[in-house]
Every structure is written in C-alpha cells, then in structure tokens.
C-alpha cells in the first residue's frame, strides 16, 4: 500500500529519530531530566522494541510499558479459573493462541491439551460458533479475553449465537477497559508521567474523544499513534512538543485509521449485549467497572453462570509482572528475567504473550 510505505521507510525513520532526540534534548535542558511517557498498548511495547525505537531513544526519552497486554493484566486467579474450565466434562475450550502457554498455578492450557483435554486455538471468537454447530452434544466455551479492540468481536459472537439459536455456546468474559485502568494508575500516583502514547487499535473502536478525561481531569497530554517506526517517532515528537508547550491536549496522530468518535457499529454492539462490571487486574487488584460483562438478558451465554469453578489460592512465585504492568519495574530488574524465566520456559504472562513487556525486552532489547 503506497500511502503507508513511508511510515516504515528506514531513511525517514532515521531522520525522525534525530528530530525526536533534538526536541528531547531541549526538554532535558529545561527540566533537568528525561521526559517519561507510557505506551498503553502491548502492541506498541512490542513495536517500540522490535523497530529499535526504544533503544535508539533510551538516553533521551524514558518509555514505560503500560497495562495494555490483555493476557499480562489478567489476574492469576482468573487464569487458574480459565485453565480449570478445561476439566469440565464434555466441553471444548476455545481460545486465542496467546493463552495456551500462560502459566497457571498448577499447569498451562498447553499442558492440559497434552493430557488429552479438548482445547482449540481459534483465530476469531466466531470460529468457535462453527465448532459449537458441529458438536451439538458438547459445551463450547470461549475464553473472552481482551481490551476494547476485541470486545466488539465477543459481542458479535453472542449476536451470531443468538441468531443461530445455539444453546451449547458460552463465553468466559474477562474483558478489560482502558479508561478505568489509566485512571487507577494516575490516581495511585506511583509513577511520574509526562504523557501517554495512546493505543492505535483500541482507539479505532473508542475514538479520540474518549480520552478527554485525561486532559480535563488529569491535565495529561496524549498522542494516538500507529505502529510503524515513523508513526511511533512522529507521535513521540508531538507528545514532546505538547510537554514543552505545557499543553494538555490529545492529538490524533493516526487519523487515517482512528476517527473522533470511534467505530459506531462496534460501540452499539457492545452496548446492546454488555454492561460494565468489576474486573481483577494483576498487581493492581479489583477496579470497579473496569470490564464489560454480559447483560442479565444474555446470561445463557455467560460461562461464569453455566460453570461453577472453584480454585485454590494461586501459587506464589517471584514473578514481578504485577509491577511490570504498572510501570514500576523494568523486566531486567526481575531476578528471574532471562534466567529462570525465558520465552521457552515462561514464569509469568509478561514473558509468554506476543505483546508482553518481558518478551519484548527478551527478544529485542536483551544485552548479550
């Protein structure tokens, strides 16, 4: 696609990095410290590491990974409950691939599958409806994990299941919303932040307007960014500019994909089937109304009502994922990083997920 090619052009990337560094130097001179920005989205964490942008800017801009990797922010008890679901007789568990290797207190879904449990990786929640139709004598449970980019797909699956009259399909909802967790992070005041690099794909659904709470209530600037090196650098540059001008504003630096009000069809589907509910976040605890759950009317699709799961207290490990997702600890500061914990043998979800901060640091930023 010609119009998008320049965003990954190496020469333009190089010049963009130089422009950012020049502006960051001004900031450092004025404030006596580096600017500190949080990238909210796990795909940004991965992209910043993979493209080398994070390493290139390291001396001038501190980029902290935020709570935007859906698997990583999922509380251990929730992970254990989801893994326990695989023991339900006559059930087929469907999940996104990311979940398979996430360590539970006792075992992972991959281990459960090796033991003979019927667990299937699907590309889309809608694929699990086909499995439900082909297996009318089995209960199909989809592990509904994700942020606002994925939640409309879960709502779409419920709509489809309703239309097809499926009674053997349900979703175990553990969805997460961006606004409540950003509020929780800012209210906790544990980290000093100068601005947010806002998530490109979540914003496709939510729209630019959804971030006005950041500027109005927290006086915090933010820039919505794409994922290619030039897009990331241009957004960091604009964030720096806002900080230098002392302006709390939201800039949409991804206007060719993100609109002001978001995706109307996705929003109305979520509104029809779902309502806010409390969610447990790893390392943060319960945040009121920080997720979406099925409305009472659609409870026959709610796996949490269909299946009563009991789990033991989670096993304690030295994993510091909880602090990593709050931006308090860098993966390298975890004593297990790259020693006991590697992508081949992950101890925590941040090392498993394709969007996990520890995995990003291990693959692209580890000093040999």
């Amino acid at each position: 696609m010609d119009s998008m090619a320049p965003f990954s052009d190496p020469v333009l990337s190089q010049r963009s990095a130089e422009a950012v560094i020049q502006l960051a130097k001004q900031y450092i001179q004025l404030n006596g410290r580096k600017p500190v920005f949080m990238e909210v989205c796990g795909s940004h964490t991965m992209a910043l590491a993979k493209t080398g942008v994070k390493t290139r800017l390291n001396e001038y801009v501190q980029l902290i990974a935020g709570p935007g990797c859906p698997v990583c922010v999922t509380d251990q008890r929730t992970i254990d409950s989801m893994i326990s679901l695989s023991k339900e007789r006559g059930s087929i568990l469907c999940t996104f691939g990311d979940m398979m290797r996430v360590p539970g207190s006792k075992h992972s879904l991959l281990e459960a599958k090796t033991e003979g449990k019927d667990i299937r990786v699907v590309y889309s929640p809608l694929d699990s409806l086909r499995i439900a139709e082909k297996n009318p004598d089995k209960e199909i449970i989809f592990l509904g994990i994700g942020f606002e980019t994925t939640i409309p797909l879960l709502a779409a699956a419920i709509k489809e299941a309703e239309q097809r009259g499926l009674t053997n399909f349900s979703i175990w909802m553990t969805t997460k919303l961006v606004e409540p967790v950003l509020r929780a992070l800012l209210d906790a005041g544990e980290i000093q932040l100068d601005g947010f690099l806002l998530p490109g794909h979540v914003s496709v659904v939510l729209g630019k307007e959804s971030y006005s709470f950041l500027t109005e209530e927290y006086k915090m600037p933010g820039v919505i960014s794409g994922f290619e090196p030039v897009q990331l650098l241009s957004s960091i540059y604009k964030l720096l500019q806002l900080c230098l001008e002392n302006t709390a504003e939201i800039i949409n630096d991804y206007p060719y994909a993100v609109s002001s009000s978001g995706n109307a069809a996705a929003k109305s589907l979520m509104k029809k089937y779902l309502q806010p509910g409390d969610e447990d976040w790893r390392g943060i605890g319960t945040i009121p109304n920080s997720g979406l759950v099925l409305k009472e009317k659609y409870q026959n699709f709610d796996a949490k009502r269909k299946f009563k799961i009991t789990i033991d207290s989670p096993r304690k490990t030295k994993c510091r994922c909880g602090e990593v997702i709050r931006g308090l600890t860098a993966p390298e500061e975890c004593p297990l990083f790259s020693k006991a914990c590697t992508p081949a043998n992950p101890i925590g979800p941040c090392m498993v997920s394709a969007e996990g901060t520890c995995a990003a640091h291990y693959h692209y930023m580890k000093e040999e």
């Binding site: 696609m1 119009s3 998008m4 320049p6 965003f7 333009l12 010049r15 963009s16 130089e18 422009a19 020049q22 989205c41 796990g42 795909s43 859906p70 698997v71 996104f96 990311d98 590309y123 889309s124 929640p125 809608l126 694929d127 994700g146 942020f147 980019t149 994925t150 409309p152 797909l153 779409a156 998530p199 490109g200 794909h201 979540v202 496709v204 659904v205 994922f227 030039v230 241009s234 540059y237 630096d253 206007p255 060719y256 994909a257 993100v258 995706n263 069809a265 996705a266 589907l269 394709a354 969007e355």
Partner: protein, 77 residues
C-alpha cells in the same frame, strides 16, 4: 492479539469481504465497516475488518511530518 496490517479488499459479498493480506487471500467479516468498498484498505483484527484506512489522510500525515522535520533540519529530500 491486536496486530493490524493494511489489507486490500478485492471482493465484496453480503456479510464478508475477500482481502489480500500481503499476498494471501482471506475472507474477513465487515460487520464494523458496512460502508467498505472494493479497493479500500482495511485494518484487520481476529477475522474482522475494524476500520478503513483513509489514504488521503495518510498521505497528508506523512507530508505534514516531512515538513516538520524538514523545518527542523533543513531539507534533505
């Protein structure tokens, strides 16, 4: 989970579209982009087109960005 590569719409059917993702052709849902047309580029997520890329805005954005860094360093291009 949230990876999106711009994919070109090459055929439209009632509820789905055939798209070209870096040379592979796959069907995706168009529930969230009912206004999509042939030759549009869309961003995909888990089997659904989530948004249509506005190519004009993309070109404008890159132009604006080139102007910013040219202004800062003097023109090299």
């Amino acid at each position: 989970m949230c990876v999106g590569v711009p994919s070109k719409v090459i055929r439209l059917e009632e509820n789905r579209a055939l798209v070209d993702v870096m040379g592979s052709k796959i069907y995706v849902g168009i529930l969230f982009v009912p206004e999509v047309k042939i030759n549009d580029y869309v961003l995909l997520h888990a089997g659904q087109a989530m948004t249509i890329i506005n190519e004009e805005y993309a070109r404008e954005s890159i132009e604006e960005w080139r102007n910013i860094i040219d202004g800062q360093h003097g023109t090299l291009f």
